[in-house]
């Protein structure tokens, strides 16, 4: 109880404008509830209502931002206590929101990109019979994601954490009649659940060790906890992040998640939800800063996933899966950035925000292309679309320049800083990020070239056309973000000083100077881009995918055998185990029970033969019995 009082004292209680932060969750939740409970009655206007709720949430976020900007940096973090959620013994968890620079940054990203995607979906989902449900789920996702980033304690974060998992499950499996979609949805949920176990274990350790689960309380007590436990907590949090952010070894669900409608891929599986792992690690920086071993694990996982995602991206012909590989890879960058400690947090989060813009923009572009190409996702059947889909081409192109890290586009500012911070840690980590940048340039150029350049390889009845304004306007806005967002955040927003009070910041001092690093990064990117352009824009792209390819390409096409390993290590033995246990339960455990019942039955059927109906034989039995009794009585008396 005392600890609880302290941690409330650590952050000011919200007053004035900031106390309306609960609206951020309440508005979209109301939208989702009204659409789902209202049922068919809301079919006519439900989607507009959902968009309205999303926009209203964005407006609230902007109001909160202006309010926060008016305060001194150290007074910006506030707590909005709503009600007591769980209180048993010393386990006390409030429903309370924490509004600070970190959470507000996420809120702004989610509500802005999210609102744009809501609008985009008006066009994209226009003819879907379950449009109302789609928008209800999107609103529900908003509520859950905002709960995740606004919670002031780990348990409430967990509510948002699994809430977004549910939204993701519902939206990946939105076209449930497709078995592939239903399977992908289930896979995503279960992979996430494995991660969630990590989160719940981390929470349990926190309460056991320090008696509280609020961010402020845990951070304050972290220096007093032993290294051993801090490392364990850090690893458990990393497991959680791996599940949600599709990091190795829980990465395989993200590629399948592309079964969902494209706006979902843009919002949930690129811009917001999958980056929650980065948020979690940044939020728990007090733990990671004190647990270098956990940080090394974070860097290791981020580095592996960064390369894995990039390699997968090079071999995919499905435009969405190629983008998904890219997302994995980019989140690998962010996770790696958070593993670097105070030199990396700010830039990981910076990259997260810029990535949210350019990747969402590219996914929407991909959706626009699919919209014009009869929902085909095969890039080998695209080509030369720059003429027929000019807006999509330009917006996608801006996103492309941003992700490559070409100055002055958004990705340049954020990715470059992560590379620099990585070199600050060690040459080896730095080289990984550098190689990743080169491979990224290659596969993105490949995607760009196969889609918009070269010769048209369209199927016969396909007539590409530009998408309606509801779709292109959000793409344009995101493209503007991809182009200028980085500069704006860095120079106008001063992202380092903005986030520093929450996650801490430290200049990278060991890294090679920018004068060496920046040109070499750009050189590597240009080399990667050139290889991609030469192979896929200047040469003919064969329509059927080539069969005689190197083992590396085969491996990349098969997601580096992620599914095969899961199947061999988990699925098959698991199925065998359940089948064996079902057999064991019915034959052995139940067999003992039924067997003893059967034995009694057999004995009874023999014994009942004694009831032969002859009164005189009964009389004889009685006489013998009586005689025996007398004999026993006599024997007992004699002895």
């Amino acid at each position: 109880m005392q600890i609880h009082m302290q941690e409330v004292a650590a952050l000011a209680t919200a007053s004035g404008v900031s106390s309306m932060a609960w609206l951020l969750i309440a508005l979209p939740l109301a939208g989702a509830t009204i659409l789902l409970v209202g049922g068919r009655r809301t079919n006519a206007w439900g989607h507009y209502f959902a968009v309205l709720m999303a926009l209203a949430t964005f407006v609230v976020a902007v109001i909160l931002l202006t309010d926060m900007l008016g305060k001194a940096p150290e007074q910006r973090g506030v707590v909005i206590s709503l009600w007591d959620w769980i209180a048993v013994g010393s386990f006390h968890v409030p429903v309370a929101l924490q509004l600070d620079q970190l959470s507000l940054s996420f809120v702004l990203l989610i509500t802005s990109v999210g609102s744009l995607i809501h609008i985009y979906s008006l066009g994209y989902m226009e003819h879907d019979e379950n449009r109302r449900k789609f928008f209800a789920y999107l609103n529900f996702f908003f509520a859950a994601m905002l709960t995740l980033v606004l919670a002031n304690n780990y348990l409430l974060l967990y509510v948002g954490w699994e809430g977004v998992g549910l939204a993701s499950y519902l939206l990946i499996g939105f076209w449930q009649h497709k078995p592939s979609a239903a399977t992908a949805a289930k896979k995503a949920f279960i992979a996430n659940r494995v991660g969630d176990v990590g989160l719940s274990l981390a929470i349990m350790m926190m309460f056991t060790l320090v008696g509280t689960v609020t961010f402020a309380g845990v951070s304050a007590a972290a220096p007093k906890v032993s290294d051993h436990w801090l490392t364990l907590i850090g690893l458990a949090l990393l497991l959680a992040a791996c599940g949600k952010s599709a990091q190795f070894p829980l990465q395989s669900w993200l590629l399948d998640a592309m079964e969902g409608p494209t706006p979902v891929s843009a919002l949930i599986h690129a811009a917001t939800m999958v980056t929650a792992g980065v948020y979690l690690i940044a939020r728990s920086h007090a733990i990671f800063d004190l647990a270098p071993n956990a940080q090394h694990a974070v860097i290791f996982i981020g580095g592996i996933t960064l390369l894995m995602g990039a390699i997968i991206g090079t071999a995919k012909d499905d435009i969405k899966k190629a983008l998904a590989g890219s997302t994995m890879s980019q989140i690998g960058y962010m996770i790696l950035g958070t593993g670097l400690g105070p030199v990396g947090y700010v830039f990981a989060l910076f990259h997260l925000i810029t990535h949210g813009f350019f990747k969402a923009g590219m996914f929407l572009g991909a959706g626009s292309v699919m919209h014009g190409m009869h929902d085909s996702v095969d890039m080998r059947r695209y080509g030369a679309l720059r003429k027929s889909m000019i807006i999509t081409y330009i917006t996608f192109g801006l996103g492309y320049l941003a992700i490559l890290g070409i100055p002055p586009f958004a990705g340049f500012w954020s990715k470059d800083e992560i590379i620099k911070a990585a070199f600050d840690k060690s040459i080896f980590v730095g080289l990984i990020t550098l190689i990743g940048a080169g491979v990224t340039a290659f596969y993105m150029t490949r995607m760009m070239a196969m889609t918009f350049f070269g010769k048209a390889r369209w199927e016969d009845d396909v007539h590409p056309h530009e998408s309606p304004l509801t779709m292109t306007v959000p793409m344009m806005i995101l493209a503007v973000g991809s182009a200028f967002g980085g500069m704006a955040l860095l120079f106008l927003g001063n992202i380092e000083t903005w986030l520093e009070p929450v996650v801490g910041f430290q200049e990278a001092t060991n890294a090679p100077s920018a004068a060496i690093l920046m040109p070499s990064t750009i050189l590597i990117v240009l080399i990667g881009a050139y290889i991609g352009f030469r192979k896929y824009a200047l040469q003919e792209v064969p329509v059927p995918a080539p069969v005689n390819v190197s083992w590396a390409t085969v491996a990349a096409r098969k997601d580096l055998y992620g599914d095969a390993i899961n199947e061999a290590v988990l699925m098959r033995p698991g199925q065998w185990l359940t089948r064996t246990l079902v057999f064991f339960d019915s034959r052995f455990v139940d067999g003992v029970v039924n067997g003893s019942a059967g034995l009694i039955g057999v004995i009874a059927s023999v014994m009942r033969r004694l009831q032969n109906g002859f009164a005189r034989s009964y009389a004889l039995t009685m006489l013998i019995g009586a005689g025996l009794l007398v004999a026993v009585a006599l024997l007992v008396r004699m002895s």
Binding site: R608, R609, Q611, N612, G613, F614, A615, R616, A619, L620, L623
Partner: protein, 99 residues
């Protein structure tokens, strides 16, 4: 007479009754044998009551008589009913009540 004679007589009567029940097929005879066993027991009760100077044994003997009377009524009625339907008083013929 000594106790021994009463007990001996009781035992002899009981044995005759028991053998009668076991060996005779006729329901009436078997019934009479049962009565003989009951009375053998009565004799023992009364003899011991006298020997111990306690009335309990005599009371029990009266109980046995009352129960025996009731039993005779019911038993004979059953035998009559069976005889009417089957024209036989053999108890081996009525062995239908079995497994």
């Amino acid at each position: 007479m000594s106790m021994n004679s009463y007990v001996m007589l009781s035992a002899v009567l009981f044995s005759i009754g028991a053998v009668g029940v076991l060996t005779r097929r006729n329901a009436i005879v078997a019934f009479m044998s049962v009565e003989m066993m009951l009375n053998a027991a009565n004799l023992a009760f009364v003899a011991f009551a006298k020997a111990n100077g306690d009335l309990t044994g005599q009371v029990v003997a009266f109980f046995v008589m009352v129960v025996a009377a009731a039993e005779v009524v019911v038993g004979l009625a059953i035998i009559m009913a069976i005889f009417r339907s089957r024209h036989s008083a053999s108890i081996d013929d009525v062995s239908l009540l079995k497994y």
